[in-house]
Symmetry: C2
Subunit: 180 residues, 2 copies
């Protein structure tokens, strides 16, 4: 009953994801989001409660697509367990850079931002990090190694965003992989 929504929720969230990814939670203004999402102010507040709730929804989308994609690389049975699985993850991140994409990782930059002072965002970030860790654990079978590689991965993604030279990132990744 009643008037049907004129836009696809998932599509709008996907557009919002791009804005938050580029500009961060605080750096993304309502005006930026509305322009990219192609809807009006009132529609956003009716469909999503507020900016914060929209961001949480974006995080869940990022979890369901991008993070899940990374976890799949780590658990893909077509690759042997161990080094090759982790190499697939690191290579994917470095391929983004080679393709000119320096956005890094929405999860990692949120983890470094003051958005994590919000308890619900902090918890969501923690859960997503845990999924990555579990993926690394399944790929390596070694909990401490998984923790090590998670830290390396987060740092890699942050260094990508800050414009670090590709050669440095590659060398660091190679060194980590060689020691698995």
């Amino acid at each position: 009953m009643a008037r049907p929504r004129e836009f696809e929720i998932d599509e709008a969230v996907a557009h919002a994801q791009e804005v938050f990814w580029r500009q961060g939670y605080e750096g993304a203004s309502l005006a930026d989001l509305l322009r990219e999402m192609g809807i009006a102010r009132g529609s956003l507040y009716k469909a999503f409660q507020d900016k914060r709730s929209l961001f949480l929804r974006v995080l869940r989308l990022y979890d369901g697509h991008t993070i899940s994609g990374s976890v799949e690389l780590l658990t893909d049975r077509s690759r042997p367990k161990g080094r090759a699985r982790v190499a697939a993850l690191f290579d994917a991140a470095l391929d983004d850079v080679r393709a000119g994409d320096r956005r890094g990782c929405l999860l990692c930059q949120t983890a470094a931002s003051s958005a994590v002072d919000d308890p619900e965002i902090s918890q969501t970030v923690g859960e997503m990090m845990n999924r990555m860790r579990k993926g690394l654990l399944e790929a390596t079978g070694d909990p401490a190694l998984a923790d090590q590689l998670l830290a390396h991965y987060v740092g890699l993604r942050v260094l990508i965003r800050s414009g670090a030279p590709l050669a440095m990132l590659e060398a660091g990744a190679q060194a980590a992989l060689a020691r698995i």
Copy 2:
């Protein structure tokens, strides 16, 4: 000649550093900064050109104190080269957490923020990262290992800020150190 300044520049920058460290570049408002620095609006714009210039100055202070402190740990001749030097760096970061300080690292969170879209900030961040890298290189003697440890360090600091469990961070650091 003329009226002397009534506050210490270095002291004011130190207070500004605390605010930027807690809230990030964009998250720190002029009002926050002025309150913590204990000066009036006009004085800030007279002494520092604007918010951006103040932040660059804060970064240089952080470089001269905190980063230099870390580099000193890595080049301290009282410790044998190799694992012990890197362990000193990682332990210092983890000791902050054990003492309840989850602020992480101003450099690392700036590297992950959209403040790095500013060319001058990006360059400064790059130079500071390079100083860390050089310290790690002097501590280990292996360029690729230095790159690996830099990524791990940045990730560690970001995970600290995001509230990751201490045991996970310790295990990851141990695993990295054990492989040196």
